[in-house]
Every structure is written in C-alpha cells, then in structure tokens.
C-alpha cells in the first residue's frame, strides 16, 4: 500500500472551516504536484475532505502566543494532515 498525503490549511481551528491553502504529496507516483500548480483548492472545507474518504491523522495544536510576540504573524496556523492508502 502506498500513501497519499493531503495538507489543508483552514480559516480557523475548526475542521469544518474554509480551506485557505493546500498541498498534496503522492506516494503512488501517479501525479507530480508542485508549488504553484493550482489556484483552486481540492475541497472547500476540511470536513468535505473527510466525506471524500480522506483520513485525518494530524491537526495543529492551539498554542498561546509567546509573551511579547502577541501581534507577530508567522506560519499558517491551522494545519490538518490527511491520508489515503492505495
């Protein structure tokens, strides 16, 4: 069995919130996704991916900002990893 990995970045910490960014890694070798290859997300929300058979295996923790850095912005906050096995 080979793994396909879908990473979705959502609008907030809820799995049913809107997809803002995404990445796809294909262990089957059938596709070669890369940076900047699509303007349209594969799903509108995280739960839509679940309904299509993707299995969630990791989600971002909610981590309080470091004192003194409450207004800093950095990486995408709400990252969800999904897999399919083929």
């Amino acid at each position: 069995m080979k793994q396909q990995v879908l990473v979705l970045y959502l609008n907030n910490s809820a799995l049913d919130s809107e997809v803002l960014a995404w990445a796809f890694y294909d262990g089957t070798g059938k596709t070669e996704p890369t940076t900047g290859d699509s303007d349209l997300p594969p799903y509108d929300t995280g739960t839509e991916a679940l309904r299509d058979g993707w299995r969630l295996f990791q989600a971002s923790q909610l981590i309080p900002p470091y004192p003194g850095h409450e207004y800093d912005t950095s990486y995408m906050k709400h990252e969800f990893f999904f897999e399919k096995l083929e």
Binding site: Y9, N12, L20, A21, T35, D39, T73, Y75
Partner: protein
C-alpha cells in the same frame, strides 16, 4: 541615485505596504528588452556588493539604463529612497520543461526590522505566459516572520499570484514576500533578472505625499487576503498600521482603532 522621475502616490505606497509588491507592466522599452536577452545569454553571475549603484553599474550600462527608466527610478525612490546600495543581483532562468518549481520562500533570512525594508526588483524582458512558470507570489505575506524556505510545505494558497505579464514588466517586492519560480511547462526559456536594494536613508515620506489624507489609504492598508486566516488577518492590519506609522512619522495613524484600543491604559505610564 537621485531622480526627478515620477514618484508613487501615498495610495500606491499604502498598497505596497498591504500587498508587498508594486507591479509595472511593460514599463521597459522594447529596445532594452531585446538587448536584455543578449546580455543575459552572455551570463550574469550572482554577485554581492553592498555598494552604491554607480559603483556597481557603469553609467550607460544595461542595468543602469534599466533602473533609470523613469517609472522604475521613481518607484524605487519612493520605496527605498535616494542612493540605495546594491545588495546583490542574480539572473534566474527556468529552462523549458524544467522538472520542478522552487519551494515557496522569502529571500535571505528572517528579518525583524519594524521600520525598514529592502526592495527587490524583478525584471521580465519577454512576455510570460501561464505555462512558462512565471513567479509565484503571495500578496500580503511579507510581514509574516518566517525563515527562507521553511514555508516550502505550502504549495498553493487562495489568492496567490501566478505571474503572467507582457515584455518589459518590472515588479518591486518587499524583501519578506513569499515567492518562488514556478515549473516551466512550456518550450520557451524564461528569464528573470533580480536586484536587491538596501536603503541608506530612513524610509519616511519618500514618495509624493500630496494625497496623504486620501481615505483610500486606510482601505488599502485594511485589505484582507483570501489565503489569510480571519483572526490572523486582523493582526496583519495591525502590523501594517505600525509600518505605515513608521513610514509617515505619524504615530497617531490608525484604522478602526485597531492599534489605539490595545494601547489604551488610562492612568498608567509603564
């Protein structure tokens, strides 16, 4: 480098503060674009300078004529100021059918300056079509504190810009913007020449400030980008307000009280 070239307006600079770029389509004349290909094919090695423009590029040289094109010179002056130093330059070539895109990144290293920024000039001497792998960039990402290609996991973001442009287009970028060269799926070689400039003066009111009270400034600075989380988007506006305050010298500037209310501590001095 002094100039009498047309300066940007306050609204245009506010748009740069919000988006992280200023784009000028077909701003370089055709004869210079045609000359560029020969110059680039002869080779331009990556070089680091830290020297003023006249010491790096001879008067009348191709690059001097490129950056002295009035619209380019005016926009550069508006953002980086007079007499910048050349940090480095590099020629980026994406070969036909090249296998992979660059990882999404910001150049150099994480940069925490709150009141200064470098400007990167990107010049495209020929038309860039959708399949030629024009530069991917993420409008509004430049104030995020991330280090170089640690963002490489992000393949696509809503509202990203996959550059297509006519020949002679120049884009000026804030140093922090997330970007990368896309995979070239065409049969045509793609060129992009980049120069990074460092400021040598405080970047305060360097543009045409006659429209500094234009209400469109707040509209530009308050923009929300489709890739940005709703909550973090509010912090982005806050950080743009701080940068606009630094660039205008107006410590009272605000939009919808975002910066004012969180600094309001009546009766407290420390």
């Amino acid at each position: 480098m002094t100039t009498t070239a047309p300066l940007l307006s306050s609204v245009e600079v506010a748009r740069f503060v919000a988006t992280g770029f200023h784009r000028m389509d077909a701003v370089i004349p055709d004869d210079l674009n045609e000359e560029a290909i020969g110059v680039f094919d002869a080779g331009i090695p990556v070089a680091y300078y830290g020297q003023p423009v006249p010491k790096v590029y001879e008067e009348g040289s191709f690059v001097r004529r490129l950056i002295e094109t009035p619209a380019v010179a005016g926009a550069l002056h508006s953002l980086i100021g007079p007499d910048p130093t050349v940090d480095h330059h590099a020629l980026h070539v994406r070969e036909p059918r090249e296998g992979a895109a660059q990882a999404l990144h910001a150049d150099a290293i994480i940069d925490t300056r709150p009141d200064a920024f470098d400007v990167q000039l990107m010049y495209y001497p020929h038309e860039v079509t959708g399949t030629m792998g024009g530069t991917l960039s993420v409008p509004g990402s430049h104030l995020r504190r991330t280090n170089e290609s640690d963002t490489g996991r992000y393949q696509n973001l809503r509202g990203q810009s996959r550059l297509t442009c006519p020949a002679g287009t120049v884009v000026l970028l804030h140093h922090g913007i997330w970007h990368g060269g896309r995979r070239n799926d065409s049969d045509t070689r793609r060129y992009m020449f980049k120069i990074r400039f460092n400021p040598t003066v405080p970047q305060v009111r360097l543009w045409d400030t006659s429209d500094l009270d234009d209400p469109r400034i707040a509209h530009e600075l308050g923009r929300h980008f489709p890739w940005c989380e709703h909550a973090t988007g509010r912090l982005e506006v806050y950080n743009r307000i701080k940068l606009w305050r630094a660039m205008t010298g107006d410590a009272s500037f605000d939009i919808d009280l975002w910066a004012t209310r969180v600094a309001n501590r009546p009766g407290r001095v420390a």
